[in-house]
Amino acid sequence: MSDRDTVLGAIRRGLGRGPLGSDARAALDRRQGATDSDPLLPGLPHGPLAQIFRAGLEKVAGTMSEIASLDAVPEAVAGYLAGHGVALEAAVAPSLGALDWSAAGISASIGSTRGDDLTGISLAWRGVAENGSLVLLSGPENPTSLNFLPDHHLVVLRSDDLVPYPEHVWSALRERGEKGWPRTVNVITGPSRTADIELTIQLGAHGPRSLHVLLVD
């Protein structure tokens, strides 16, 4: 008997029944989760999604600036870095590689990082208003390492990609069909933090010390 059969057999003994029939299993597979028939989602404050998103983000010590177009992103990044006294150098996700970084005076290395970049710049797939969370998908164009290794994480989010709840992200991932879920989906809510020493909150435990969102209209 395989290890799988041994564990499943023990579970069925615990449940006091044999394996389920194929009809019963098919019915279970059609169930789409807690919220599909009778959604129970927390009420959101009134106002535009961008405003709710910003409130959530700022509650967890993230910051945000609103930008008119994608082309204006390098300029805004340069302003942010200069304002924080950080060198104008960054590891940039290939999805944003086509922007004119050098025109804004930023020396950009396109691709993933091994931890020697102070600043990382990524493109979010969705933003979730409920908690001010960013959703980033891994892929050739979006290295996961940029989300965790740099001290400063700057994330570009298109305002069209703002959704009210994470449930909207899951249904959008389902609609990707064959491609389905990428290796990593990072839901990021604020900069890294720890309270492991005397329950004192300290930002920048292992991941970024600051998180800044550039919301592009």
């Binding site: 041994t6 965790f148 899951w170 492991d196 329950l199």
Partner: protein, 476 residues
């Protein structure tokens, strides 16, 4: 992990006298309870969500075989490998074998309670691997060679001074010799040391807060980002997870996530919620080449058969221990095994046996606070009562206690004798206590009066007598 639960009494007395520990516990207790209350207040749907969470968990457990099969098939489709472990020993062997096959030298770990339960670290170290815990709290207790004392903040029993000493002792080999005193500089130093470990590790091991059956995804929540670095930088990612962690869909996980952080730390949401599905895909610049999941039973399937199935709803938030007066007084180490507090007092006897851990269900005042705050409404006091009952039936408790209980049972079954007995007793005790009406000492009960506590004496009449008299008076 080896159990020390048989020594619960000695260990709790020791804990009560440990002044450093008492300072740390006091800080934790108030901190957590207040933060949770605030977070719950901010979500009017909290109670309705708890009902949903209970329904999701019950539904999944009722069809656990189906959802695990669906999950395992989805993992394999995405290029990962699923391993099934019936026992702790199986789990240890599987993890060691994967690390050997990967020709690993250094292994980083994200916090995994089931990893602690089956003793993954010990097995890996015995096999010659260097194992580094990366959650700051776990890293601190690894340096101190101690087990966790809390499932969310494993080093909550340590003060800043103790941690500074540990770092001073252990970080000199990296050229970090300055003695630290402030929290930010300690966090920074740990960040610096652990950064080099992440980048050098061959294998990363994490736990899972949820497994999603539909997509074959494992989910971890962290605040530090340590688990996320652990699962994305090394060439091999191993997930250790109890079989009860599976949920049908990501929507179900979202419902539970709305409860988890609020119940645990009082956050609306933890900083990082990371969903891993299989190994890295073609063209991905980073991510592991191999993805393994070890599904661990270790006694859980047996719990499905009776009322302890309710315990399998547990999402390991720690709210029960944060609101428990016993945990608040003695901390986690006194319990002697991986899981402390109310949830641990249920799980430990089921795992290591009532003979070893029979004291734990008795170390409970049945005040019910744990059940009140439990996000998945586990009736912890009822489960503890059942364990007490089992212990009595197995004749495992202390003999004087069992004799006392047997005598009491006999008296209550003979009401007339019981009434005469209590009448005499109430009068005698009232006489003995004299005018003060309180006892300050009593033979065989020295423990009660320690630290200046007294005991009010009966006032000379039994409840039944008072009741009868009042009935008569009001009839007049």
């Amino acid at each position: 992990m080896e159990s020390l639960s048989h020594a619960f009494k000695e260990r709790s007395v020791h804990a009560l006298k440990d002044e450093t520990l008492q300072v740390a516990l006091h800080r934790a207790k108030d901190g957590f309870a207040v933060k949770r209350a605030k977070a719950v207040e901010g979500l009017p749907e909290f109670d309705a969500l708890r009902d949903r969470a209970v329904a999701i968990k019950n539904h999944t457990l009722e069809h656990l075989d189906h959802y695990l099969e669906r999950y395992a098939d989805a993992v394999e489709r995405s290029g990962g490998t699923v391993h099934w472990a019936s026992s702790a020993e199986d789990a240890r062997r599987i993890v060691v074998d994967i690390c050997r096959a990967a020709d690993a030298k250094m292994i980083t770990k994200g916090k995994s309670m089931v990893g602690e339960e089956v003793g993954v670290n010990g097995a890996l170290e015995e096999a010659g691997f260097e194992v580094v815990e990366t959650d700051l709290g776990e890293y601190i207790i690894q340096l101190a060679h101690e087990p966790p004392s809390h499932i969310i903040v494993p080093a909550v029993h340590k003060t800043r001074g103790q941690i500074a000493d540990l770092f001073h002792e252990n970080h000199a080999k990296y050229g970090l010799t300055r003695k630290l005193s402030e929290v930010p500089e300690m966090v920074n130093e740990a960040r610096q040391v652990l950064r080099s470990k992440y980048l050098a590790a061959d294998v990363g091991i994490t736990g899972a807060n949820f497994l999603i059956a539909e997509t074959g995804t494992s989910v971890i929540v962290t605040n530090e980002g340590n688990g996320d670095l652990t699962c994305s930088l090394p060439r091999v990612h191993i997930v250790t997870a109890g079989i009860e962690k599976v949920v049908p869909t990501a929507e179900d996980a979202s419902t539970l996530l709305r409860l988890l952080a609020r119940s645990a730390t009082g956050q609306d949401m933890t900083t990082y919620t990371t969903f891993s599905t299989g190994p890295k895909r073609e063209g991905d610049p980073d991510g592991p080449e191999e993805y393994h999941v070890v599904l661990i039973d270790n006694g859980r399937s047996t719990m499905l058969a009776d009322q302890f199935r309710e315990m399998l709803r547990c999402i390991r938030c720690g709210a029960c221990m944060n609101h428990c007066p016993v945990y608040g007084a003695i901390g986690g180490h006194a319990y002697g095994w991986v899981y402390p507090g109310p949830m641990g007092s249920v799980l430990t006897p089921l795992s290591v046996g009532l003979k070893e851990a029979g004291n734990l269900p008795n170390a409970c005042t049945l005040n019910g606070h744990c059940a009140e705050v439990c996000p998945v409404r586990i009736p912890l006091p009822d489960l503890l009562r059942t364990l007490r009952h089992r212990e009595y039936q197995l004749k495992l408790g202390l003999k004087p206690l069992r004799w006392g209980l047997a005598a009491w049972v006999w008296f209550t079954a003979h009401p007339r004798i019981y009434r005469i007995g209590t009448r005499v007793q109430a009068r005698m005790l009232a006489l003995l206590a004299g005018r003060k009406g309180r006892f300050t000492r009593m033979p065989l009960a020295g423990g009660w009066f320690k630290g200046g506590r007294d005991l009010p004496a009966p006032q000379g009449e039994t409840f039944m007598a008072v009741w009868k008299r009042r009935q008569k008076d009001s009839a007049r």
